[in-house]
């Protein structure tokens, strides 16, 4: 009976009850070098501390966390901007994704997502395909969710059809169909 239990254990010998670490564990490599994923995470996040006040234009190509005050304009077109709980922004914001835990006054534009977390506050207009607003968040303004053009679903190739026809994405996102409303479920 007990021998059977032993057999159930995973081959690595790791206890199943061991709690998962809060941060992703970095597996040790024989050479001791940091794997590429961890390196990217460590390299690409920059913080602006609580006591920092910036007035003007802020551009960058790294993920940024702001805990201080920024007035003016923030542009991180390819990166994630996080407004920390202490962050106060009075600016126009352009980023790939914006996470708000602090206070933002100004218009926010994101190509992927705007996420206003609990106790976060935004006063301004949001333009983003996806917007998430938590229950305790404050928002005043408008939300413009442009319809994302979904990539064409690959059709099953019928015996009479060629593969080229089935894969062509051009027809699926033609100008006529790109702006047309998605037909939701109708009763």
């Amino acid at each position: 009976m007990w021998k059977r239990d032993e057999a159930v254990r995973p081959p690595s010998g790791r206890e199943t009850t061991t709690p998962m670490p809060a941060t992703p564990a970095v597996p040790s490599t024989p050479s001791g070098s940091i794997p590429p994923v961890a390196r990217v995470t460590e390299r690409d996040i920059v913080n602006i501390g609580k006591s920092v006040v910036i007035k003007g234009e802020l551009n960058g190509s790294e993920d940024l966390t702001i805990e201080g005050h920024v007035e003016g304009k923030i542009e991180l077109r390819e990166n994630i901007l996080t407004i920390g709980p202490n962050g106060k922004i009075k600016a126009q914001v352009f980023a790939k994704a914006v996470i708000v835990l602090g206070e933002v006054i100004g218009n926010v534009s994101a190509t992927e997502k705007v996420d206003i977390r609990d106790n976060g506050s935004v006063e301004g207009d949001i333009v983003s395909p996806r917007v998430a607003i938590a229950e305790g968040a404050m928002f005043r303004g408008s939300v413009d969710m442009q319809r994302a053009v979904k990539p064409a679903q690959p059709k099953p190739v019928l015996p009479g059809e060629s593969k080229v026809e089935a894969k062509s994405p051009v027809a699926a996102v033609s100008p006529a169909s790109a702006g047309s409303p998605v037909q939701g479920p109708r009763v």
């Binding site: 607003i133 408008s142 969710m145 442009q146 994302a148 702006g179 409303p181 109708r186």
Partner: protein, 235 residues
Amino acid sequence: MKRAVPGDGGTRPRSDIFSFLGSRRAHEDEASLASAATSDEPVLPTKALHKFLSSLGSRPAPVLLDLGPVVGSNLTFFGEQLGCKVFIEDLFRDVDHHLQHGRLDALSSFFSTRFPQADGSVDGILCWDLFDYLEPGAAQTLARQLMRLLSVEGVLLAFFSTVASQDARYTKFIIADEMNLRQRPYSAGRAKQHVLLNRDIIKLFGALRVSESFLLKTNIREILFRKPTYLGEKS
């Protein structure tokens, strides 16, 4: 000897029962967490929301005006269904503010300058049950403003209670799906509830046409108003 575990198609060995229970419990925990937030919220059926969405579905980029408190999931719902622009104008908060300061009589003049949007710039308006909590003067001013904002063939959805509720708080409406709403308490203080008669409601929105009207078992009358074309031709 391997014994089959029920519900596993008879293929799972009994020795694997711990991992089976573990994964199932984890799944159940997730499900219970998700449902905990919603289990105590009453679910109300809605018939007019679907009609409201259908009316806006044919427009390429509709503009909505939501007079209720901001609800993230509602925004997501409208974004997915309509790909629209939504103005959030929480009038419940405004009513609460006036109520706290004992200035409910000033609501009417407040509403007359409340909306910066241009005439005919909004395709859909969600009033929820706001009109139940407004004095006649304020209700008339607000209705006039909303009729001004609505575009030709634009739609306005409003709920009217047929019985006065004893609840001292507002409830905000969370869209569960096209046919169901959930009610969640909202912290804003509530003004006195008025039960409007059908003819008063129609008179209130005199310039609009009643497109759909549903009297539900939940004592809520859902009315979908539409701005007729001839009003657009006049202007």
